[in-house]
Subunit: 547 residues, 2 copies
């Protein structure tokens, strides 16, 4: 139109427009609740004032050493206070935080350091060895800072390595000024962090998050995790994993307390829950197993209901019931590194409470609906970019669109373009849309087994296997077959003290599945998992090739 | 810097960037909880599916009649379902919603219709008379739609007027298509609504809100009002007032239920609380008085704790205690039309619970700290734009900065520029910053009384008056005085059945205040209030001039 009065003399200015950034959420928490405990780590307690001031000092120290916009600061840290400080101190300098998965090997670390052009590496003494090796391989020569955790347990399962850096983390922080004039990002689209995908094939891709998405995740997480005033958040999910699903920033919204945890062990989790009044934790199903399978002497009584956010795999019925009995309320989330961690939530309906246990578990197994801050979630045929029918059966690719989808992949325009083809983020996950609008994953595209021209969902076979009482963990992959093209092979890890034969397992499947979907081979073995509890199917495929 | 890798090939695209708009929050609630009750109005119940479809039909019908970007749709409606539908249906056409205060007179309505260049007016039959008169005065000739509420009570305190429009609201909705292809705003900075300030001097100013701010208010309101799953929100605050503090949009975040209420009466409020399980309501102190002063036969028992968000004036100690006893938890908020309603919250601290009652009331009387979505809040000397010391004593002007500050004033660049001078929104409210970072209002700049060169805060004198057991409401204004320049005059409304003399009142004040601050004159009268419960000081000043 020629003249829109609502666009005349009504421009952005500093009074009515500021870039979204999660940094102001910590600033606000520290200004409002300076004396509230922000961080608990072993015997350490840090108030919000201290958390804020230490983040400022870290920013100031990095800034004095020339770190600023466009630079990458790499951290290889456990769930300890410096990791929380880095999530704020690094972006306060306008630099980008790159968190390394602490289980990576030297070659991949070196690749990431070079690809990210790291200027600084902060490394926990637990990982000195592998980092030292990686720095020997990498071309970049970053400033290396050791973190020597004073709370490192004497009976640690992993011993502390030698110092390898130029200075210790506390020395770096001491160089900084707590009155550092931190600045807002120039634009909310500016990068805040970098997280590499686990990259089961080819080189890992560097997923870039921005301040805008991180801020909107803070609100969405708060809403969907049901975080009321002053929550107590236990760090069982690694902060290196999608920036801990953005909870290092989210907890500030309600000025909650972070409870650090270097190693995820049942005893330490129960102690934190009982002693610090934990209200929320997140983790893969393996963390639930650890809680449920704890020895009696490791468990502790607690009065509060604890919200457990899980993702990675739908929780089996038996686990859900046991978790409820143990005082945990399980929320099922789904997302990818590219979507800031979870961006889909299984919104639970009151009327589902009256369903029988197996129907309830079926509902809980769905990934669900979009997060409040995600604008679009659908299932499409990627060839036509048309939505599949919402019939709960027609397989398609799960697609995301909205403000909590990554900026793209660093230095990888081709992968970025492919991921965003047609204006939607292609997840690579196969799923269905149920008639009620809830999505359910069926498989990763590459995990589908095509046997005699028919698609077999490995998840469907795994679901059937999990119903066998002896199965603790399982993974189903394809085996090349002259006649059928591919056939399914099941890898099974048995529960302690339980037994089963291949014949029993196959018979069990036949009672539940069409015959062509049943495993032709059954292998009993320990199932390889990633550090975040996901089953490593590429390892299973290697095992099949060696068979 | 020359080359920032985080700005290369990492641009916005539809997959990773969408304009923020509250419309997607209703869309999401309707897709996820289609059968949940979204709106209760008398005997009417509308599910989220119906609420969404009716909003789409309204948008479609308006769109067919040519309404679109840059156009203004005016509504003069009570807290009824069409008001909720208009909050969504109007912006779905990219037009702007202009809500009229239902207590305005014809001259001001006509001014607003012309200033906003209204294309459509939707008017409740309760207000046909004044709207008819206003349309006679105004230059614009909008399409007029009557709303004939089927739930209009037969024993209504205000009778229903004649139809004055071209068609009835339900006829308009029936013209629309529930499959209307609504569109996101082109830009999140686009206007969503227009609210005129009450304008006690000069012409009212048209405050323009944008989609971005409205969305961020939804998250902030949800957090600060402690809205968990499926809240039940009672509409005691007029939706014409700062778009009901953005709650017409906010309630979608947790897919809560709106309970409509045409007239704010104690009996109806208690009925809604008891029968619909209301969890939240908002309103001026006058709403609290109505609840507390209800006759026994109007009250109802209820089990839940109800959160009452109040603003406009700090709640007196006696009211806070009585509200707690009655089952309400009071949150004290503060904001202006220019800040989307509340953008400051009295964040309550656990440790304050152990304070004695009067100290507690003193803490509760502070306006508090910024909303999560407000980036800046401070007290400054407007002449120097320097912050006043945080000593709880030095008076300055309260200033706001951030994403929940208006776009500006419609067709009023001069006022917009003044309001945003120096990069902060100047509230016109005088206050202090306490050492703990909480702000407290002392007065509107124009409400300060200057007596013998000393500033007297009328709020301080009113606080003292409210401590007198016979005082139900009061207002203190200046009276011109030859010797002192100005002296304070107190207007007092007594509680039913209570008595007091001017001498008693002055003696009461002298026990609490410096002598020069005590009223020289005391007038016993009914205190004039705005429709939102604010005391109309300009009316008191008129009364003084006539004295």
């Amino acid at each position: 139109m020629a003249h829109n009065p609502y666009e005349q003399d009504l421009d952005r200015n500093p009074a009515n427009y500021q870039p979204l950034t999660p940094l102001v959420l910590l600033e606000r928490a520290a200004a409002t609740f300076p004396d509230r405990t922000a961080v608990i780590h072993g015997r350490q307690r840090r108030s919000y004032r201290q958390f804020w001031e230490r983040s400022l000092k870290l920013a100031s120290a990095l800034s004095k050493r020339g770190i600023g916009k466009g630079d990458t600061v790499t951290v290889m840290l456990s769930n300890t206070p410096p990791m929380l400080e880095a999530h704020h101190g690094v972006p306060m300098t306008k630099a980008v935080l790159h968190s390394l998965n602490t289980r990576l090997d030297a070659a991949i670390i070196a690749f990431q350091l070079d690809h990210a052009q790291s200027k600084v590496v902060i490394v926990d003494r637990e990982f000195s060895g592998v980092m030292s090796e990686a720095l020997g391989i990498a071309s970049v020569k970053p400033l290396v800072i050791d973190y020597d955790d004073p709370e490192y347990a004497e009976d640690a399962p992993y011993p502390k390595g030698e110092a390898i850096g130029s200075l210790e983390y506390e020395e770096l922080v001491a160089e900084g000024d707590e009155n550092f004039a931190w600045q807002m990002p120039d634009d909310e689209w500016d990068a805040i962090s970098l997280n590499y995908t686990s990259g089961t094939t080819g080189n890992p891709k560097g997923v870039v998050y921005h301040h805008r998405g991180a801020t909107l995740m803070c609100y969405s997480n708060t809403v969907h995790a049901g975080m009321g005033r002053a929550p107590v958040y236990l760090w069982t999910l690694p902060m290196f994993h999608c920036n801990g699903w953005c909870f290092p920033w989210t907890v500030s919204v309600q000025a909650g307390t972070h409870v650090c945890l270097r190693w995820v062990r049942a005893k330490a989790m129960y102690e934190a829950i009982a002693e610090h009044g934990v209200t929320h934790l997140c983790g893969a199903p393996v963390v639930m197993s650890a809680l449920l399978n704890a020895a009696d002497h490791e468990k502790r009584e607690f009065g509060q209901t604890v919200i457990f956010n899980t993702a990675a795999a739908p929780p089996p019925e038996s686990v859900l019931s046991a978790m409820a009995d143990a005082g945990f309320e399980v929320t099922h989330l789904y997302g990818l590194t590219e979507t800031y961690g979870p961006s889909v939530v299984n919104e639970w309906k009151d009327e589902w409470e009256s369903l029988d246990r197996s129907e309830k578990a079926r509902r809980k197994a769905r990934q669900g609906v979009r997060y409040a801050a995600l604008e679009g979630l659908t299932v499409m045929d990627p060839a036509t970019m048309r939505e599949t029918p919402a019939d709960g059966e027609t397989l398609g690719e799960v697609m995301f669109r909205g403000n909590i989808v990554m900026k793209g992949y660093l230095r990888n325009p081709k992968a970025t373009e492919e991921a965003f083809a047609g204006g939607w983020f292609h997840s690579g996950d196969l799923g269905v849309m149920h008639p009620d609008g809830y999505i359910q994953l069926k498989d990763r595209s590459k995990d589908i087994i095509i046997s005699g021209g028919e698609n077999i969902s490995s998840i469907e076979v795994e679901d059937a296997l999990y119903k066998h009482p002896a199965v603790a963990a399982c993974g189903v992959v394809a085996k090349a077959d002259d006649k059928w093209g591919e056939t399914p092979v099941a890898f099974i890890e048995l529960r302690p003290g339980r037994q089963a034969t291949a014949e029993e397992i196959i018979a069990h499947c036949k009672a539940l599945l069409a015959s062509f979907k049943c495993p032709r081979h059954v292998v009993f073995a320990e199932i390889p998992k990633t550090s975040t509890g996901k089953i490593q199917k590429f390892r299973l495929r290697e095992m099949v090739r060696e068979m």
